[in-house]
Symmetry: C2
Amino acid sequence: MLHWLQQYRRAMLPGDISAGIVVAMMMIPQGMAYALVAGLPPVVGIYASIVPPVLYALFGTSSTQSVGPMAIISLMTASTLAPLAAPGSALYGVLAAQLALLSGAVLLACGLLRIGFLANFFSRPVMSGFTIGSALLIAWGQLRPLLGSSEPGWPDAPHGPSAALGLGALLALLWARRYLAGTLRRLGLAPVAADIGAKLAPMLVVLGGVALVAGLGLEARGVATTGAVPAGLPGLNLATSSSHWQALLQPALLIGFMVFLISMSGAQALALKRAEKLSSNRELVALGAANLGSALSGGFPVTGSMSRSAVNFAAGANSQLASIVTAALLGLALVVPSGWLALMPLPVLAATIIIAVLGMLDLSTLHTAWRYDRADAAALLATAAGVLVLGVEAGVVVGLALSMGALIWRASRPHIAVLGRIPGSEHFRNVERYTTETAPGLLMLRIDAGLFFGNVEAVNARIEDELAAQPETRHLVLVLSAVNAIDTSALFGLGELNASLRQRGVLLHLAEVKGPVMDRLRDSTLLAALNGRVFLSAAMAWDQLAREAR
Amino acid sequence: MLHWLQQYRRAMLPGDISAGIVVAMMMIPQGMAYALVAGLPPVVGIYASIVPPVLYALFGTSSTQSVGPMAIISLMTASTLAPLAAPGSALYGVLAAQLALLSGAVLLACGLLRIGFLANFFSRPVMSGFTIGSALLIAWGQLRPLLGSSEPGWPDAPHGPSAALGLGALLALLWARRYLAGTLRRLGLAPVAADIGAKLAPMLVVLGGVALVAGLGLEARGVATTGAVPAGLPGLNLATSSSHWQALLQPALLIGFMVFLISMSGAQALALKRAEKLSSNRELVALGAANLGSALSGGFPVTGSMSRSAVNFAAGANSQLASIVTAALLGLALVVPSGWLALMPLPVLAATIIIAVLGMLDLSTLHTAWRYDRADAAALLATAAGVLVLGVEAGVVVGLALSMGALIWRASRPHIAVLGRIPGSEHFRNVERYTTETAPGLLMLRIDAGLFFGNVEAVNARIEDELAAQPETRHLVLVLSAVNAIDTSALFGLGELNASLRQRGVLLHLAEVKGPVMDRLRDSTLLAALNGRVFLSAAMAWDQLAREAR
């Protein structure tokens, strides 16, 4: 804890302060916008950007991670709460805080149980598919506020001034995304400064929107704005008498899981750039604390945001002090006269959301997967389709099922080679790839995978096939040089194979059993019941058995 | 389809007929009892034992599998339907058939999609834990009918005559389980015949119960019986206007999954004894057809029963004709005057259920796992606890999570060896296990696992650790002799490692890339971007780099 503070050097301060300021200017419109995505009043997005990053700074292991509201987690929050309360109602806000509390508790518990390996549950393509599906769902949901339409569903009745403001902001942001960095560079800014400046486009566009609303009196003409922001920090908003705790538990599990996955994937990418070491268990604790903090300060579920963290990194953040600076600035924004915050036009915020999630539509993973492994590409598309058709929570389950399915499917087709001897040598190789000699009655198989429940049946089936192809076999040697582990299921599988072979007069031998595997097997009943012998090497098995088999 | 019929020889007939008769005598009390477990009238258990085994015989690949009602699937049926309808009501029966229909459709679809590798999703310890938890739950549920108590929950008000009958049957069955086979053997029966005879104890005890009920007029004294059995076969019981289809969908997925897992684990054990080859995809189709058939003939979800199949096997079944004989006899039992079926005392049926599920309390897997791998033993106990505390459906999910969790956990700790050269040779070995020489500035790592999303972070972390331990490293060689596959996630991981190492002035080389892995990599961007070179062997990498690194 606070490892970074003990090692803090004064030279790190300028970078941290400037990054903190930049991220704060990015955070204000983003936090408010993502609160809207979650179905909450915009100011809640500011609340959720103050305490959580400070708690993350205390416990986290990434120096540049920016924790706060994030689009996908906001979408999951909205999808959880929509059936339980009306967006904007007091109950809705209480439930959002309760959801953050439960998600935080789940994360904290996982961290204390040290099960950070959970971060490895999603494959990259599945994560990419989940992100793409969620981004499309979020963008679709923002069409209505963008055009000022009050109809649910397809916005067939846009509100003129709102739509003009929203579409104008959208075009400005699209322009900024493509050309602003180049323009700033031509104006003499250093490349890094120009890139960072371009990231502040949403803040500039929102401020432009505020100016238009104030100048043209657009509020009176029906353009929706964020509305009065209560000054000061929020009170505790966490009634415990609600009967919704049970309904929130399963979503909290899924949200906690995705908070962790999303935060880790961003943090890992940045950590690699600085050769920084993350601890997944401490990340769980830090994200848990951040969500508990969000719950206790009137917020909603939060996570590390890849896009904000990248800006934090690029803007020179050297430590978590940058996030603390950001939090302090946001706190200040609530305390100083904040009338201008009330005038933010919702169509402009919707435009910033759409542009932000368009940035998440990264198709390069799909492109790579399509060329490299069609099954991975199919998993990506299926996960995206799952999110779009079944919703974001079912999408997590679909993604999990596909990741695990791919894993088991691959595991269920282990590579097994029939071995023969390279004539005149002590080397044994795959008979299909090398010119080898074999001995009649002796079958040698090398299994190129750890043996576990996912492949034990496939291994047994393959052995039966090989025995059927060589019915004269009297000795079967399993060469385990590539087997790093044998789990309990595979132990039973080998025991049953041994019993079955015994009945049929075939002896089962093992060869080249690795040290750690042998240590385990020694205590098991398999070795005692083994029909045949254990050989140190394939060559020793050949020397003994080729003669006997004849 | 009907492969076995084409190869049928007359010599197989006696075995099939005798096994068919034996299983029918086992099936009558068992089918009725398991219908009670499912909350259905006992006769439904007979219905579900006629059409399903015939359909399985048409499509299945196991010669001895006995398909019909099964305790755990009945428990899952009851747990699904209890919140939707009152047990015994007409709606309850309709929903049971609908559940079988949906489960059958799920199985059939999985079979047609050829995703039979689903059978590999549960580890043995998890399956054992699930079975133990379910058995205890079923036994607990039968205490009330055993003692004739009408109170829900703990049976604190037993009904004298019922309890006497139930406990008497229980003691008789316990005695038969332990001593009947031996007694029959001493009476001159051959060992196999004696073992089979002992399996008919439930039928004998039930017949004894019927005699007592009839002789002593126990019905009038308040002993519950199966009640009037409508003669003849049932009509279609599958109203389609119900609004419960959606509520049944998720349970049907879980039930279909468990139907498949339970049936496969039994069939595989018997197939191994006969060196018979099962096709998991055709098993899915056959179990799907069996459940559709059950739905259309007034039944409920069915599966292959390990205990009945073992009796079928032991009684000499040579083909699926045995199951057809069983089905024909059960059909006959419904058509001939079946008044005696009505007099079966429920306390005695409860006793047969308790004894049957006690047979499922196999602690040997726990014992083996405890000695061999504590993590597997913990997964077993946690799954059993999950079933007992959260219910049988949540138990499936807990089991899945634990199986997958164990898999990812193991995968996330791949074995990686630092290699050194055996002096004067071309052999490279783990520096911790052999006396080797290393070259300054050259780090060679052998990764002993396929690279995929579950271990890509762990591999990168380990590489960072080794680089931190040897900061003078200029050349990093990954020896991929044991890497059988690299998935898209790992491809990205290697690409990011490559970029990160480039920044730090370390060259990344690959060596001993396997043929199929290289075929894939050749088309990818990794090789084009690779910092260093690809060497055919570790020795060639050493020869080139040991000099350069100096």
